[in-house]
Subunit: 433 residues, 2 copies
């Protein structure tokens, strides 16, 4: 009798990077781990839960390596605007009004969207992070959380925010059955003066935690960095010691060859956010060059206000498409590479080395998509279909840490009806205040 | 008593280009036409069918202005390959084996996918067109159909194909309650010698029909055109008389300023296929310049083998995103313009002037999407959500020509189960032959 054992019977499994990237067979989950995957049918002991895998394609859960979940409250509130207009007239005045409750309901809306769409791990950099962690714990999702700090303020406010970031990182690291880990996160080199940024590096050393920041998202901020500090952002962050910590930077759109080499040398990951970079007209990151240099490139949605959804299938597809179109090379970012960016590379680049692949010993974070649909037929190459044809809405089931959280498209852990209503009310409340 | 009258009660309606692009109100459909749209509640006579519009966003049906429906049988069969390898080693050897039945089931699969995803009109250029027309008639979709002719063959074969194209265009124009119209379509300037192309222009004059062709999809074909004929493709087609007919060209990726001016002068539409152009690494069309010059730009999916789905929401979003990212201008192709490209401009550019808008006197081709979902909340700007957040799978209901064809996601006109099975069998059959 084994009540903590689940066997997936007779499905297709995506295992990119192996000899057989589309495996037809079986998978066993015991507690929070994958303990078998292969073609042989495992023994069905009494008490084992059996999941019929026919008509389903199983994949590692998607890993979203950069975002601001609560910003879903501002989805569609300001589009097609120049970046500074969007920030100064739309985002910042509304975000200033965000209460802890707004963050709670905005994050709930995002986590619900992400889980239903097959994202099993997300990185979040925002404020009111205790409320974000509450949602993460309750929902069953895996997350890497951090208080993102903008340092354009008096020193006492700076120090207060830093203390908050440190205390959050210390309190929540390893919580929720280990599903929550934390990082130290100055917002960006252009919003944190050098002496302040150095304090984050020290904190990360003290707590033995990795670091995350926005970097080189726009051409303008790179030019400003050179004007202010005589260095481009990568050399600047290197000089301030950030890369002595395990690190991942978001965006990295405007990089020269030397900067790519520095990132590769320090093993710094880059969270590529194609949807947000296109929508805000930031540009197209040099993803093929980054991958060629050995930089771990993963995928992020950024906040829903600049995306405008949290569909990681779409980011995966954008990553596979735009670098072909812009470079003129149809072999750029092939489907298996795009899939690994959205799963395995994503997990590794936020320092979760036991997440992101369907393999023995890995955490049981996986999803199933319904492949018996017109847009996923005929079954020529299911890995191709996952990257080039599928969407968040094709996700049928989701498991995180061995527990099922989405079943036939319904969330088992969160109250969807309440979240939909509360999120709408929160937005209306912000408009009124 | 009026059995041919439907009233949509209390919904949101997208009417881009008007003073109130998101209208909250009512819409009346009588037979195949929209007879009322506005804020006042119309009188509910006996026998009128009432549709509860709450939780729904109504939009004009999407118009796909370039594709090869039967190619869905090759979805995922060859990705991430150089164009010539893809064509010569993957597509052409398989397409050579296509029978009328293959075309029938491939087209059925595509039409099913399109209808379920909110596409109410599609343009199709392929072979075995009688079988395509059969599917179009049966399914209830609106379509613009044409036998696409490749002229790289002996003269007798050329003439046989041309005769087929003419006879198809004559026989099917105006059929299926007027839902089917036809065009005359040489495949491309690089696959049809000039003297052969001229015969198509003559046929289009004789039948008084518009013309469609692939044009300037790749840089290489433009260079070849100059080498072979001393002219770039636009001037070449102008010289051969094609633009004396109402025309729409597909792709138009590689155009110079003079060519854009010629297209604008002759009122030639351009079907922009962003997904296919990116995937095949053809490049990024000059959409903002085309729009600025007054060229009617619409959207197409191309065949599913180079896309790899027929989700027009995705094409709409790609059109809104990539031109921002590549130009560096976040105001490029704003949401209402992307929506009009996918609807109104699409219909106009394939010469269906009573399709593509929710307005009195227009054909009742419209769709409803379920907006009470996490990724479409909060309700900040529903037009933005339709363009930047929604997908084909959010479509709940579809009406074409006043008749409902999709209800709660289920197709009322086609046998989905049979099509799924037959499409898979057709692909397997092609592999074996």
């Amino acid at each position: 009798m084994n009540n903590n054992k689940t066997i997936i019977k007779g499905g297709y499994f995506l295992t990119p990077g192996t000899d057989e990237p589309v495996l037809s067979g079986y998978m066993t989950i015991e507690d929070d781990l994958i303990t078998y995957i292969g073609k042989e049918e495992p023994q069905m002991e009494a008490g084992v839960q059996v999941v019929d895998g026919s008509r389903l394609l199983f994949m590692p859960g998607l890993v979203n390596t950069h975002g601001h979940a609560a910003m879903s409250l501002l989805r569609g509130y300001g589009d097609d605007l120049a970046l500074q207009v969007w920030l100064q007239e739309k985002m910042w005045p509304m975000e200033e009004k965000f209460t802890g409750d707004d963050v709670y309901w905005g994050t709930s809306l995002s986590v619900l969207e992400m889980l239903k769409g097959g994202t099993t791990t997300f990185l979040d950099m925002y404020d009111h992070m205790d409320r974000v962690a509450e949602v993460a714990e309750l929902s069953g999702i895996r997350s890497v959380l951090m208080r993102g700090v903008i340092g354009l303020c008096p020193e006492d406010v700076q120090n207060h925010k830093l203390a908050e970031a440190i205390s959050f990182a210390r309190n929540w690291h390893g919580k929720a059955e280990g599903r929550i880990t934390t990082m130290i996160s100055p917002h960006a080199p252009y919003t944190c003066p050098p002496d302040f940024l150095v304090k984050f590096v020290q904190a990360a050393h003290d707590l033995d935690l990795p670091m995350h920041t926005h970097m080189s998202e726009t051409k303008r901020e790179v030019e400003q960095n050179v004007a202010d500090y005589g260095l481009r952002p990568v050399a600047h962050l290197e000089k301030l010691g950030m890369f002595t910590r395990p690190s991942i930077v978001a965006h990295g759109v405007h990089l020269n060859d030397e900067e790519i080499e520095i990132l590769a040398r320090h093993n710094v990951g880059v969270s590529h956010n194609p949807g947000s970079n296109l929508k805000l007209a930031s540009g197209v990151a040099r993803v093929t060059d980054l991958l060629k240099a050995g930089v771990k490139v993963s995928l992020g949605t950024d906040g829903a206000a600049s995306n405008n959804n949290l569909d990681m299938f779409e980011e995966m597809r954008l990553a596979a498409l735009i670098h072909k179109g812009v470079s003129g090379d149809p072999t750029a970012v092939p489907a298996p590479e795009a899939l690994r960016m959205a799963t395995e590379y994503g997990a590794q680049s936020i320092f979760l080395n036991n997440v992101g692949r369907l393999a023995v010993g890995m955490k049981a974070d996986f999803i199933a998509i319904d492949i018996d649909q017109p847009h996923l037929l005929p079954h020529t190459d299911l890995l191709s279909h996952a990257v080039y044809s599928a969407s968040a809405k094709d996700v049928e089931h989701v498991w995180v840490n061995g527990k099922q959280v989405i079943k036939h498209g319904q969330c088992l852990t969160l109250d969807e009806e309440a979240i939909r209503r509360k999120a709408q009310e929160a937005f209306e409340g912000l408009l009124k205040r």
